[in-house]
């Protein structure tokens, strides 16, 4: 078993994570940090997960969120989707494998903490989304304007906008940055009874995953592997999958996630022209489309984006 996470130290000490450790800040820049923290990762071993939802429970308790008590809607997934009050969700898929046997795939969904975070790139509000040098991507709510660009920027469809507050704001998993700051791991990992969720340095987690993958291969899962998608330069939340060749069977985990080209353009505009420089109605309507359009990037969006960036398919 992976060494259990230690209990909280009662001794005061210097924070292990602070603003001095920021490497990226939305719509603004940060000075290079004086120290480089060791990159961290949460590893979710889907093959060890029993779908008990202790992680969801711990997430609610630690973050003190108050998801509403819903109704049964035809599945074990409750709430039925991520919400501003539910940062992580067990997603259940009944999949019949090519041998004709049922597999019940249970994947803990939530923020992947991309090394190249699409949400942060898309965010127009200075300092609303930040990334620490250990890889954690965090939302800073006092800076958030609730515009929803982060949702469009996310290749995993994770952030959710709260409409119940005075001003809308975006919410998602913080990788328990507050716990990590005092030397702890995320609440979900602490609560997981089977250590399907473990937390450590990215290097340790990658190594731990190798052992798990070898075990799965010995049990006949020839395509077992690690999900650490290069399209977003890797993630700080990784999965061990029994069928790593088909991530999409795990409740539509993207096979090759990439930041939408729209976000790349927007980012480019911001970077080179600055937000205020985009005058006029055209820019406004473009942004309107980005924000209030469907939550998914449509084919048209993609194509027009490619045209604009000169990557149109020929």
């Amino acid at each position: 078993m992976f060494p259990p996470l230690p209990n909280v130290s009662v001794e005061p000490g210097p924070p292990k994570l602070s603003n001095a450790d920021l490497v990226k800040r939305s719509a603004s820049s940060v000075p290079p940090p004086e120290r480089q923290l060791t990159p961290v990762a949460k590893l979710i071993d889907v093959s060890k997960c029993i779908g008990c939802k202790a992680c969801q429970s711990a997430c609610i308790e630690w973050n003190d969120t108050h998801p509403e008590i819903g109704v049964f809607s035809g599945s074990y997934e409750n709430p039925p989707d991520l919400t501003p009050e539910m940062f992580t969700l067990m997603r259940f898929t009944e999949w019949v494998n090519p041998e004709g046997n049922l597999e019940w795939l249970i994947r803990k969904d939530g923020c992947m903490h991309c090394e190249d975070p699409g949400c942060l790139k898309a965010c127009p509000a200075p300092g609303a989304i930040v990334q620490y040098s250990n890889g954690i991507v965090d939302f800073v709510h006092e800076n958030c304007i609730g515009c929803g660009y982060c949702v469009r920027g996310c290749p995993f469809n994770i952030p959710r906008i709260s409409r119940t507050e005075d001003k809308p704001k975006a919410y998602k998993c913080t990788l328990c940055s507050d716990r990590v700051a005092v030397g702890q791991g995320p609440a979900c990992a602490k609560a997981c009874p089977t250590q399907a969720i473990v937390f450590g340095t990215k290097e340790e987690m990658t190594k731990h995953a190798e052992g798990r993958i070898a075990d799965l291969k010995s049990r006949g899962y020839a395509n077992a592997g690690l999900y650490d998608p290069p399209g977003v330069k890797g993630t700080h939340v990784m999965y061990v999958l029994h069928h790593a060749d088909k991530p999409e069977i795990y409740a539509n985990l993207p096979k090759d996630p990439k930041i939408s080209p729209i976000v790349e353009i927007w980012k480019g505009m911001f970077k080179y022209a600055g937000f205020v420089a985009i005058g006029g109605l055209a820019a406004f309507s473009f942004l309107q489309q980005v924000v209030s359009g469907a939550n998914r990037v449509s084919r048209e969006d993609e194509e027009s984006a490619k045209r604009l960036t000169g990557h149109a398919e020929r």
Binding site: I50, F72, G74, N78, E94, I106, D215, S218
Partner: protein, 810 residues
């Protein structure tokens, strides 16, 4: 559990059948993932549903609920046919060689001696043949046709893979795969652990389900070894403690038994509890019964229990029936013969079968006292909650008194886990509002009762007024005081018989453990098996040392494991007849030529020679019983019986309905449903998001599983026009409920005896109190009948019908 949770990490093969460890015991399940990750262990799940345990299994096989005995006897048959038996173990450590009396037989689904009118057996032929020396006759060559082995072989021969498929609906190839995987553990260096729970107990033949697996484990040589065993996963926190401390109507603490009304005096009571060894040189540890019994009486009545009054034996209630189990209790309540009910930590309105009958019974009470930390449905049974509790309040005269009590985290004391560990815990919070500890409440009630008896006398005041109550504050006994009393103490100095000046047991001291308990009234102990938990060394239950020499999973200094801090029961059986471990890499104890030593506390006298004294010291034979003599009401071997409500007739004995020895009350018999009107095989179960009926009071759990539903296959949904998430009505011959449907691939129709059997799954966490949406429980539908031996209700297999209905008007 024979073993412990931590020991499951030592296994090679986990079989989850009759349980759903990943969902119902997620924290304990970590040891399965340990065994898989660290030892490459395999996990098999056999269940009517593809559960969350199955989701992480190496192999899953479906089975129709209520047919486990056919499956398991099929595996035993497979092992015998394919020579997959750990022969040295089975010959030496089980009763396989013993001869059974002439006249014993099994035919048409019945053993010899059946009386249909009484639904009971004359068990006189279900016994061993005794030799002139008074010992059982044995044939070590296993040749004699009446030796247990040959009777077993004959008994299981009918359970071929084809018959298993026909009864259980398990495809033959899947059955054979499971049988082959299990059979591999007949090797002395391979072992299997059986993890089971209510999926085996909640049947009219629950005890025999478990026996069938225990027998398989014995012939495979998997009992007493690291990573093996029969491991009952207890459902309620401290239900193991409840059983140990004897809170059953027919038990006293430590599995001593309450006298029956024919045992009118002490000598008569003891005359059937002599436990004379049935084989030469055997331990037959129950020969110490009198010491434990007298020490118990001394703890109960202190100075009032004297040799002259046989230690107040007369104060004990005498049973006029085998037991006042919950079914009999509610039957009597329903008949109006029982009119006051104390309900402590129990929610009968949702937990007991045939809810309509339970409601009627509670409505006939004069008073109902509910001691519970939660506002339970039982406490509110009189309140109309629309269709969810449709009662006419004005017509119910029962006076209900609610006494709010505390939760475990607001209290100090010990909880006994499935692995027999007594783990002390401390209060983490203060009780809210007017809530009081159960012990405080009980003490007040006792003080009030005693005062009344002292003042008014009454028919037989002595047992109440003389109750030994030595607590510092009589109104509030502390957990420490109670634990010390349970451990036991010396009442009078005991001196060395060879040197009367030498005091070996000093008055007022805690006894070290039950080995020093006496039958002369000089020691007291509230529960002998727990003795050693709180002795002069201190509170051993509070120990939190995680050391585990050589990483064998014993953790000897963590809490206290009964008996005598022993972690693996029958661990003597982990060694061969010379006292060497069957598997040197799995050593627990071994014989060093003069005594037993090792990681665990030996389950045998320290100097008992390995080739002389058998490992099953609690049995008068010294061996484990494949054939259980007359100790079970429904047969010395398990046999397949259908549930009382079954989609098919018993293929082996079509005329026999249910378990022929199970008790059925007359009115309940009339309420059994038949397959023509109720064609679908229903089962009930728990979901991991909830803990029984407690966590529906908790916001977070309610979010995670908010509303009642039933689960059906895609095939049945199609047949009945039921949509996923759509509304259905489900009804049995007793009641009708409404639910949303979950249409799933995880339930598939089974072909049993040529007929397609559809399974309807009904989880049980909903009621009309708490945070979740109001809903029903399976107990609205289930039949009022229990296991033949211990009356656990048959919640796991019953018949229903189902139809699609329109959504209720909001």
């Amino acid at each position: 559990m024979t073993n412990s949770w931590t020991d499951i990490g030592n296994t090679d093969l986990v079989i989850i059948m009759g349980g759903n460890a990943a969902e119902a015991h997620p924290c304990g399940f970590k040891w399965v993932t340990e065994a898989k990750a660290n030892r490459g262990a395999k996990l098999i799940v056999v269940d009517p549903r593809f559960t969350r345990s199955a989701a992480v299994a190496d192999f899953y096989a479906p089975i129709r609920q209520g047919t486990d005995i056919a499956f398991l006897l099929g595996v035993i048959n497979y092992c015998i046919q394919n020579d997959k038996v750990q022969w040295d173990y089975a010959k030496a450590f089980t009763n396989a060689p013993y001869l059974v009396k002439e006249g014993f037989s099994y035919k048409d689904g019945l053993f010899t001696g059946y009386d249909e009118a009484k639904r009971d057996y004359d068990k006189s032929t279900w016994d061993y043949e005794l030799g002139p020396d008074g010992y059982v006759v044995a044939d070590d060559t296993l040749q004699h046709p009446r030796c247990v082995w040959n009777l077993l072989k004959q008994h299981v021969a009918i359970y071929t893979p084809e018959m298993v498929e026909r009864i259980c609906g398990t495809p033959k190839d899947k059955f054979l795969k499971v049988a082959a995987m299990m059979a591999e553990t007949s090797s002395p260096t391979k072992t299997m652990t059986s993890m089971y729970a209510l999926g085996w107990t909640q049947h009219s033949k629950g005890s025999q389900n478990i026996r069938a697996m225990a027998m398989l484990q014995l012939i495979l040589g998997n009992i007493g070894v690291r990573g093996g065993g029969m491991n009952a996963l207890r459902g309620h926190s401290n239900i193991q403690g409840l059983t140990d401390i004897g809170l059953m109507s027919n038990l006293l603490p430590g599995y001593l038994t309450l006298p029956n009304e024919r045992e009118i005096d002490f000598d008569k009571y003891m005359s059937s509890r002599g436990f004379k060894p049935l084989r030469p040189n055997q331990t037959s540890y129950w020969q110490n019964y009198k010491k434990f019994f007298v020490s118990f009486l001394k703890s109960m009545w202190g100075p009032a229990a004297t040799p002259d009054n046989n230690f107040a034996y007369d104060y004990l209630p005498k049973l006029d029936v085998p037991g006042y189990d919950i079914l009999r209790t509610f039957e009597l309540m329903h008949q109006g013969k029982l009119n006051g009910y104390f309900c402590q930590g129990f929610n009968p309105l949702l937990s007991f079968p045939n809810r309509k009958k339970v409601t009627e019974a509670l409505s006939k009470l004069k008073f109902l006292v509910v001691m519970d930390p939660l506002d339970t449905e039982t406490a509110r049974f009189w309140q109309n909650h629309g269709e969810f509790n449709d009662v006419d309040t004005a017509k119910i005269d029962t006076e209900v008194i609610q006494l709010p009590s505390t939760c475990f985290a607001e209290d100090e004391g010990s909880l006994t886990n499935s692995g027999r560990w007594l783990q002390w815990h401390w209060a983490a919070g203060t009780p809210p509002g007017e809530a009081k500890h159960d012990t405080w409440i009980m003490a007040q009630i006792y003080q009030g009762l005693r005062a009344l008896y002292q003042k008014e006398g009454g028919a037989f005041p002595e047992p109440i007024v003389n109750l030994h109550w030595p607590y510092n504050d009589p109104n509030d006994p502390t957990s420490d005081e109670l634990a010390k009393e349970i451990n036991g103490y010396v009442v009078e100095d005991v001196t060395d018989p060879n040197d009367p000046t030498k005091v070996v047991l000093q008055k007022g001291k805690q006894v070290v453990n039950f080995s020093v308990l006496r039958d002369d009234g000089k020691t007291a102990s509230g529960c002998w098996i727990y003795s050693g938990c709180f002795n002069e060394q201190g509170n051993n239950m509070a120990r939190r040392d995680t050391s585990d020499p050589d990483g064998v999973g014993v953790y000897p200094k963590w809490s206290f494991s009964w008996p005598l801090n022993r972690r693996v029961l029958y661990n003597r059986a982990s060694c061969d007849l010379s006292g060497k471990p069957w598997d040197p890499s799995r050593k627990l104890i071994e014989w060093d030529g003069a005594k037993w030593t090792g990681y665990d506390v030996p389950d045998i006298a320290p100097t008992a020679k390995p080739d002389v004294v058998g490992p099953f010291i609690m049995n008068a034979e010294g061996t484990a019983r494949l054939f259980t003599r007359g100790l079970m009401r429904d047969g010395p071997f398990p046999a397949h019986y259908e549930p009382f409500e079954s989609p098919i007739a018993n293929p082996l004995a079509p005329k026999v309905r249910g378990n022929p020895a199970a008790r059925v009350f007359k009115d309940d018999l009339a309420q059994f449903g038949d397959a023509d009107k109720f064609p679908y095989a229903a089962t009930s179960y728990r979901l991991t998001e909830h803990f029984h009926f407690w966590t529906k009071h908790v916001w977070v759990n309610a979010v995670l599983q908010p509303e009642f539903f039933v689960e059906i296959s895609e095939q049945l949904a199609k047949e009945k026009g039921i949509a996923n998430g759509g509304w259905v009505r489900v009804w049995s011959n007793r009641n009708s409920i409404r639910a949303k449907a979950l249409v799933t691939k995880r339930i598939t129709p089974l072909i049993c005896d040529g007929k397609t059997v559809h399974v309807v799954g009904i989880p049980l966490h909903w009621g009309f109190m708490g945070q979740t949406k109001k809903g029903f429980g399976p107990n609205s539908l289930t039949p009022f009948v229990g296991d033949a031996n211990i009356e656990t209700p048959e919640f796991k297999a019953f018949l229903v019908n189902i139809e699609s209905i329109a959504a209720p008007v909001a």
